[in-house]
Amino acid sequence: MIYLQLFLSFLQIGAFSFGGGYAAMPLIQSQVVDLHQWLSLSEFTDLVTISQMTPGPIAVNSATFVGIKIAGIPGAIVATLGCILPACIIVTIIAWLYIKYRNMQSLQVVLSTLRPAVVSLIATAGLTIIISAIFGELGISIEAIKIQMVVIFGICMLLLMKWKMNPIFVMVLAGILNVAQYFIIGNIL
């Protein structure tokens, strides 16, 4: 029952992604790439890239993208519902409690314990993406290393860290650099 699987997978993604931004990414990867193999690692990376360049949260974007790929528009609707349902219930209850009691402290202590873990989870997912971009999907090996990707990655890091450039601009530039190097180096050799 593919609809039920989609629904339950995205229900978990919605229920356990704390902290916004990239926090959902490791969960999406573990459900969609590792557990169910609905997307390959490189399709997943494309999805993260597309999410960066369009409005909308990454969890909702992935629900739509994976849902359509696996089971068409109904699949996308089911996955999206699964992904927002936990928030609709949990956040409404918290908002109700807040409007009633106006006390938020416990919530923030729990969040402060989660934050360091979330950083590490994002680091793990990010590292998988970087390794697959540089070595391909088979993992680290000397023969598989793509020098041009190492160079592009280095340039992007420099632009982001040193000059604090806009991430969307940096990603588009990375794409253009790869197209350019293909034709330039291809013509020389």
């Binding site: 356990f16 704390f18 902290g19 931004g21 990239y22 990414m25 573990s30 490189s42 990376t45 494309d46 993260v48 890239t49 960066q52 369009t54 409005p55 909308g56 949260p57 969890a59 909702v60 974007n61 359509i68 528009i73 927002i84 936990p86 609709c88 949990i90 956040v91 409404t92 918290i94 908002a95 919530l107 202590v109 729990v110 402060s112 314990t113 989660l114 950083v119 590490s120 989870l121 994002i122 680091a123 793990t124 997912a125 990010g126 590292l127 993406i129 970087i130 971009a133 592009i152 990655f153 992007c156 890091m157 860290m161 991430p167 940096v170 588009v172 990375a174 794409g175 253009i176 197209v179």
Partner: protein, 188 residues
């Protein structure tokens, strides 16, 4: 009744608009929500909005969706939640549906494939820089408890492929224990 309908329509249209045109993720969208609902419409007062944003950021799920839920609930109860959540997910749903059709068609095109391949290195760099910033923030707090959690979570997920959900559950339990210990100390 008529005024309620008017308010719901306005809520729907403003969350739809914010969701369709906000690039840069949840943190940006809640800031814009504050501008719209506090400064422009005067529907929510400033202090309350700050707390509602804190709820949206600390509960599980996407911040943009959570922001829509708290604002919708505050303004019109459960019907408000439904209206603002639907308005928030329509834009990404439509945009990504359109893109995924193009994606299947264009993925085999050489230029598109090269572009996407290069962008994988780019997005890897973006994530690395985000992790670096978040990580240094936590290291600077010099809280040994946080550092241990950070190190252990990385080791178990990267090297031992432990399911992400378990790591989060364990941290929630630890956080709850910490809350009770602090409460106990305050009472003593």
């Amino acid at each position: 009744m008529n005024r309620d309908k008017h308010k719901l329509r306005k809520l729907f249209l403003s969350t739809l608009y914010l969701s369709a045109f906000t690039f840069g993720g949840g943190y940006v969208i809640v800031t814009l929500m504050r501008k719209k609902f506090v400064s422009e419409y005067h529907w929510i007062d400033e202090d309350e909005m700050l707390d509602l944003i804190a709820i949206a950021q600390s509960a599980p799920g996407a911040i943009a969706v959570n922001g829509a839920i708290v604002v919708g609930y505050k303004l019109a109860g459960l019907i408000g939640v439904i209206v603002s959540v639907i308005a928030t997910i329509i834009p990404p749903f439509v945009i990504i549906s359109a893109i995924s059709v193009c994606y299947e068609v264009f993925r085999t095109n050489l230029i598109v494939a090269l572009m996407l391949e290069g962008m994988q290195a780019g997005v890897g760099a973006v994530i690395a820089s985000v992790v670096f910033e978040m990580g240094t923030g936590i290291v600077k707090e010099k809280n040994p408890f946080s550092l241990v959690i950070m190190a252990i979570s990385f080791i178990v997920t990267y090297f031992f492929h432990v399911n992400v959900v378990y790591v989060i559950l364990v941290c929630i339990v630890l956080g709850l224990i910490k809350t009770f210990l602090q409460k106990g100390r305050e009472k003593a």
